[in-house]
Assembly symmetry: C2
Homo-oligomer: 319 residues x 2
Amino acid sequence: MSQLRKDVITGEWVIIAQEREGRPYQFGEKDNIDECPFCPGNEHMTPGETLRINDKNGWQLRVVPNKFPAVCENNDSVDDQIFFYTICEGTGRHEIVIETPLHNKGLHELGQQKISDVFIACRKRFQELSQLEGIEYVQIFKNCGKNGGASLAHSHSQIVALSFVPRRIQKEMRGAKKYYDRKQKCVFCDLIKEEIVFEKRIIFQNEHFIVATVFAPKFAYETIFLPKIHEHDFSKVDDKVIYSFAEAFEKTMAMMTKVLGDFPYNLILHTAPYNSEENYYHWHVELVPRVSYHAGFEIATEACVNSMFPEEAARRIRG
Amino acid sequence: MSQLRKDVITGEWVIIAQEREGRPYQFGEKDNIDECPFCPGNEHMTPGETLRINDKNGWQLRVVPNKFPAVCENNDSVDDQIFFYTICEGTGRHEIVIETPLHNKGLHELGQQKISDVFIACRKRFQELSQLEGIEYVQIFKNCGKNGGASLAHSHSQIVALSFVPRRIQKEMRGAKKYYDRKQKCVFCDLIKEEIVFEKRIIFQNEHFIVATVFAPKFAYETIFLPKIHEHDFSKVDDKVIYSFAEAFEKTMAMMTKVLGDFPYNLILHTAPYNSEENYYHWHVELVPRVSYHAGFEIATEACVNSMFPEEAARRIRG
């Protein structure tokens, strides 16, 4: 059972999920294939699948409920005012995408087809979870490496279906709407044009994507994958666009690995909510290498200090 | 020279300070007293002092400009619209409080009087820096330990004078104002009353402070030091209140160290801007142990998942 608690000063919600304290931690010296719940042969260690892709050698991808969820299927969500604080139940779903049966391969090492399969599986679960009662938003993301916050080494992504639209998404949608109201244009489409003209932050381009370091980055080497075809809702994206994303991701990771080594990162998919009409938004993917720290200043102010210009980061990545 | 850049979607500012990339990193195996710029004998390694406390044995505390500042004394700050992006110069000051001549002592190990001296020095610099032209806010904070984001082991705090009021402060002030407008009362004063009645999140109390784990924490063991006497502006706080804070900090750190060992942390001082009239605000200090991670979910959503209830954290700390 998880709980949502509202900060009485700022109105910000946090999720408290005490069961997560019990989750296994398998990394570096503690990494152990025999005990890896995501390895073939250990399928009994996870709850039953919600999606599975097979080939002639057995499963290639599994989506399973998270045994240590941040949010879960609860009783009715009830607002509760205790003294002057507000609490409600952390209703939702939390699933894990086991991206490969191979214990020692990263997502970017699986090849374009299998990377694409992972995001097509995510799109399917995004659609299905979004339609459950009480679900307002489905967040897809990946933690890779210890500093990326992963607790298991075996490559996986996560899908969290939430009873609220998160603050970050609200902020981006509000910003995009404001721009649209002023200019009758999508801010992300304009950003793509500006980046192509400016060129110094571009890392990679193919038919469907530009990959660029972020103009105002919160983390060193922060990078955005922007689809050239305007679409606000990830569930409506074509297979061929996802296939093109897979190429962009594979190539970008290869370039970054040359500069940063085997680096920890977070991968984040931002979309308007499923079936929403917020057409001024534009789905995209963010890649956040976790090679810089947020310290006291960032927590104190919520302004980030970055010690590298994104133009310099792009220059290094392009090599 | 540092730069402020505005995110074109969300309007958030980030600071880019490339000089910071050159700052020394001295920790664990790389920690070296001979090369420590904060040790006695190495005073020439820092810029000249802006404040110094001596006793018969020499200096006990020094405040010096940061050699690798996040913001600095620039030419006039000029807004610059490049393509559709906004940039301006990162004008301000960044100072370091070298809290002790002793290389191997943490702030909480210095004794109540010397801890108090550190915060009295911070109050003085807060007043002085706040009065410089173009300064809108002065943020005082401390990074301790590698995961706390410190780059030097020798105990120090930081003071950053900014040309803008940071988002976090604005958010807290807005929340406090909203509460005040509705109830004609300070939300922090009410929070103190509620916490004392509820009791399960209280860690420590003395004449002037309550110390409690935070109701809706973003990090495990997140703790707030709330002064019982209402005051919005840190520069107006009495020496005796600061002396009382020093006791609360010393005792809290001793209790936490029993549970968490020698833990990394951030210490953050929040106040209304100097000489402002926002009397609905209430200054306080936040202690953020860095024993939990913010991963992809937190970056993607700006909602935090915490795996420990603050009531449980307080129970463990109280022992």
